[in-house]
Point group: C2
Chain length 601, copies 2
């Protein structure tokens, strides 16, 4: 038993004995329902060794199990080896989710401990519903007593963004939120979601990799704005100090992060009779804090209006996104030029580094928007491939190379995938490449009436693949924030029913793919902006403007699989890329891009 993780599981069991817990459930979440948690909240990797993005851990006296989905089965099997932790599968037909699994143990009134900070209200209710006789203890920082050198809560410098960058002052945003509170007869709203807070206050930080968020809570009432953000022992740098001052001048009270629970317990005393909370992002501990006061406010659990406001970009944000895609497109074209001239002497990792370097030269660059997927051949067959830092595969002058990457800029966020033939390709690679591009183009060309949701047009990107009995197991499109998360709701384009209509000003990815295990993978991704196309007797019409600017390689197309409309779209797009980018490229690069963007057929 010298495996570090099996030792940690044993320490959890010792804690369970000491505390009288029968079961401990650890989730991959943080107190803010973030997509990516900071190191402090990476409880599952700490305890089990599994580092995939989706994983929950259950420990009983006799069993330790990790729940994750098919994307991570292989990785989990490898990483869990020797830990004694067994793999449980999710998102497969025979899957037994954690609440049902615990219920199936048939224990008599078990005591289940969860980290109250990392368990959202909805998840707790699902667990209680599945195991009605369980006593669930919500313990904040449950693992802290046994987690030596646990990382502290991040506190990175913050910046504020002016109206010139984001198009709307925080006063206006807060004013809108107060109007919403007044209409709904609430006195205040409590917000845990970090992207909502960053958007509302026009602040950014870098507390979490790839996400320019500031770990904090926000309480907006009809007459105050309380921002719980200051971390114990953290020293603010000069720029942060200036930012805090600016916020204070705008009426934002800047308070210690850990004062939030006291504020929630004294809402009613502070004049809040009716508080509004979003149970999909609120953690259990905060929910309980509201009920901790001597006199209690009326609590309304409802969806926050902020995600939808945030998703509809204003004119300044749209202009910023266009600018970001121009700069990002230049970096991409320089990268593809470099790639063509340096294969076969580079590895997947080298290529990722070069692309990051080119992006970092852009003024206003604030880091990548997610970890670059740089994948050659069979690696690209894994949609969530993680490029190894050492001994990553060398690129060769044949087959397909896939690169999925993006940047965070002060003026926008990008996300682009290109699949590039590095030399001769097989007939199957050629067909897959063409059909995925066909699906991508069909969605990009879509016109639809106002009120249409993403799930109602998802099939447009898939039908060209379906016709040849091909498919892909991920969504076709996700929402993208403005210098915020590269994944954001409420809209998406996928098979799952989501009634949120696509509204003018929303930005989505368009990224169909095909993955063949052990062989190759193809994905073509641009970001598209929903725009108005005018009204007529039949309705009000919407369509997409493609924001991403980087040519699609035409050398490995099976041209006869494309319709005339698709060919015309492709030629027009590549021509637009050339005309927009070539003036900023070196003459050698521009000449190269001219060749790459020659019209086909």
């Amino acid at each position: 038993m010298d495996n570090i993780f099996s030792a940690r599981i044993e320490r959890i069991r010792q804690l369970m004995l000491d505390e009288g817990w029968d079961i401990v459930v650890l989730t991959g979440g943080d107190p803010h329902a973030s997509e990516y948690p900071a190191d402090r909240w990476k409880q599952v990797p700490w305890a089990s060794g599994f580092t995939g993005e989706a994983g929950d851990l259950v420990v009983t006296a006799s069993h330790a199990g990790l729940w994750t989905d098919s994307r991570y089965f292989i990785q989990a099997q490898r990483q869990l080896e020797g830990s004694g932790v067994e793999l449980h599968t999710t998102r497969v037909p025979a899957a037994v989710p954690i609440p049902e699994w615990i219920a199936s143990l048939g224990m008599d009134s078990p005591v289940i401990a969860v980290d109250g900070l990392c368990f959202c209200v909805e998840a707790l209710r699902n667990l209680q519903k599945a195991v009605p006789d369980a006593r669930i203890e919500t313990v904040p920082d449950l693992l802290s007593p046994i987690w030596d050198s646990r990382p502290s809560i991040p506190s990175t410098p913050i910046i504020t963004l002016g109206e010139d960058l984001v198009g709307q002052t925080r006063e206006k945003k807060i004013h809108s939120l107060r109007k919403w509170l007044a209409i709904n007869q609430y006195d205040a709203i409590f917000i845990s979601a970090l992207d909502e807070i960053a958007w509302l206050l026009n602040v950014r930080g870098s507390d979490i990799d790839y996400n320019p968020f500031v770990i904090s809570y926000l309480l907006v009432s009809l007459d105050s704005v309380k921002w719980f953000v200051l971390k114990e022992d953290a020293e603010a740098d000069d720029e942060s100090q200036a930012s805090f001052d600016e916020l204070r001048a705008d009426g934002v009270e800047v308070l210690p992060y850990d004062e939030v629970e006291y504020s929630l317990a004294s809402l009613k005393k502070d004049g809040v009779d009716r508080i509004c909370l979003d149970p999909s992002t609120l953690n259990t501990f905060m929910r309980e804090s509201v009920d901790d006061g001597d006199i209690l406010p009326e609590v309304f659990e409802t969806q926050s209006p902020v995600p939808q406001w945030k998703a509809v970009k204003n004119e300044v944000e749209i202009e910023g996104m266009r600018e970001a895609h121009l700069e990002d497109g230049l970096a991409m074209e320089r990268f593809l030029y470099w790639l063509e001239n340096n294969v076969p002497e580079v590895s997947e990792w080298d290529a990722a580094c070069e692309l990051g370097r080119l992006r970092s030269e852009i003024e206003g660059y604030r880091g990548d928007s997610f970890e670059t997927i740089s994948a050659y051949g069979p690696g690209a067959a894994l949609p969530h491939y993680v490029t190894p830092r050492s001994s990553s595969p060398l690129l060769q002058r044949k087959g397909l190379y896939l690169v999925d990457s993006g940047g965070q800029y002060l003026f926008g966020t990008t996300d682009i995938t290109r699949t590039v033939p590095l030399g001769p390709v097989t007939a199957l690679e050629r067909e897959d490449y063409t059909l995925v591009l066909k699906g991508h183009i069909d969605l990009a060309m879509a016109v639809f009436p106002r009120g249409t949701a993403g799930c109602q047009i998802d099939a447009l990107a898939r039908e060209p693949l379906w016709k040849t009995r091909r498919n892909f197991g991920h969504g076709t499109g996700h929402g993208v924030g403005f210098f915020l998360g590269v994944h954001e709701g409420p809209q998406d384009i996928r098979q799952n029913f989501n009634s949120q209509p696509l509204l003018p000003g929303m930005i989505c990815s368009d990224e169909p793919g095909i993955y063949r295990e052990g062989m190759h993978g193809v994905r073509h991704e641009n970001l598209v902006l929903v725009k108005e196309l005018g009204d007529n007797e039949f309705g009000s019409w919407l369509g997409f403007e493609t924001l991403t600017l980087c040519h699609f390689d035409t050398s490995c197309l099976e041209i006869e699989l494309l319709t005339q409309d698709e060919v015309e779209w492709l030629n027009a797009y590549n021509e637009r890329v050339y005309r927009t980018l070539s003036p900023r490229l070196s003459s050698a690069q521009a000449a190269w891009l001219r060749e790459k963007t020659r019209p086909i057929r």
Copy 2:
């Protein structure tokens, strides 16, 4: 006040005074939640004069209002003139549904009377929810005291269908239902829906126009089948007697229709401890009858499993449907040949009669499956046009004629729409005709993975129209029964979210359209069968087989709007129609069809 309907509204008000009711709500429904009610239950037409298919009436002391949707606004305005009944709109953004409208009156604990037989359980609950302090009286046959010569409950001859026609005996169907009861731990299920009863018992009648149903209720327990069907004073003919005998021999107790309420009140006494009811089809009076006993069973409200079983056709039903479409296609081609040789000397009504006559010559014909829409020019711009019996417009040698019709046969049900150029057409007619056909073909060619629901592929039929900013306001496809209702669930192909996947063996219509008020209308409709296309590494694949056999006219196509794939589909379809039908046509008709089905491009 000599308007007959205003006089009837006054009689309703007198009844309200006598009974102490503040509000009367009359719906278009019958006791069986049928799509089309028999004359006995046409309460709204009797009281208001409005004959559209969707209409509900509310009468208060000072107001009478009819609620209907945009399809019927013009008709309603005309028919309500002089009745004093005001038009309320539904399915428009500003619509106020009846429950909310009543709530908005702000009456103090109003007494609302509804016909308990014609108000389904779900509707009653919605009403009570919207007006919590209302006392709702559910009165069976509420209008009977004031409705002179009210039609009696229909009692038409019945027939039984053997395994050779329907592929499964009633014993097997009842056995499956009992297995379902046992698995779910129910003792019995009570069924009100007429198509479910007809399917389960393999019986058909003609109690309702166009629907071969027998007005009745069915109670299936683990050891008995009680069919409440015999109407007071009705004499059964010889064939019906033989059918009843056959059913009795199979263990079906044939009981009087009006004994059902007593049986429901004595369920527990009869050994039924746990009864299952479907609140979406059950009427309020029957629901209350269950609660009328001295000792009561446990009641479970749940969806009946029958609609889904019924929707998935077995091999015998599929073969019957193919046969029905062959016979129906012959009638259609003979009709179109006749039409071309008789325009301009025929009216819309003449044409409808000729088509009905041709269908009636088919062996096994049991009537039309709905009222034929025979519409020339502007008439075709109304999707639910009712062809006038007298002075209907004459067809001319120009423009588009639309005919939407279908037949009921012992071996299947058909539903087909053809839009026919009668001579020169305008450029807009040509474009509309082509784009609708493009949408029809794109859906007909669709391939999709198992699990896909209709709303996920509806856009395939619409995108060609959407691209040119055209659309249509009805669903693209509805389920079709086997010698049952021409509209049936649970599947459909439309924008509204419906999670029911399209399963192999289900039959749907594929009928996009374009409607231009005062000008013309285009609709192209075939029925398609969901079929398996095999499995591979990417999933299990489904597609459509077109059942309908009748050529699409190619003379007014704008061919360059079609892709090569679409042209090939159309040529192959027309060729298949010619090869299948021509051997059974006269030589003149066959030669004509040969010309009509010549490949294009």
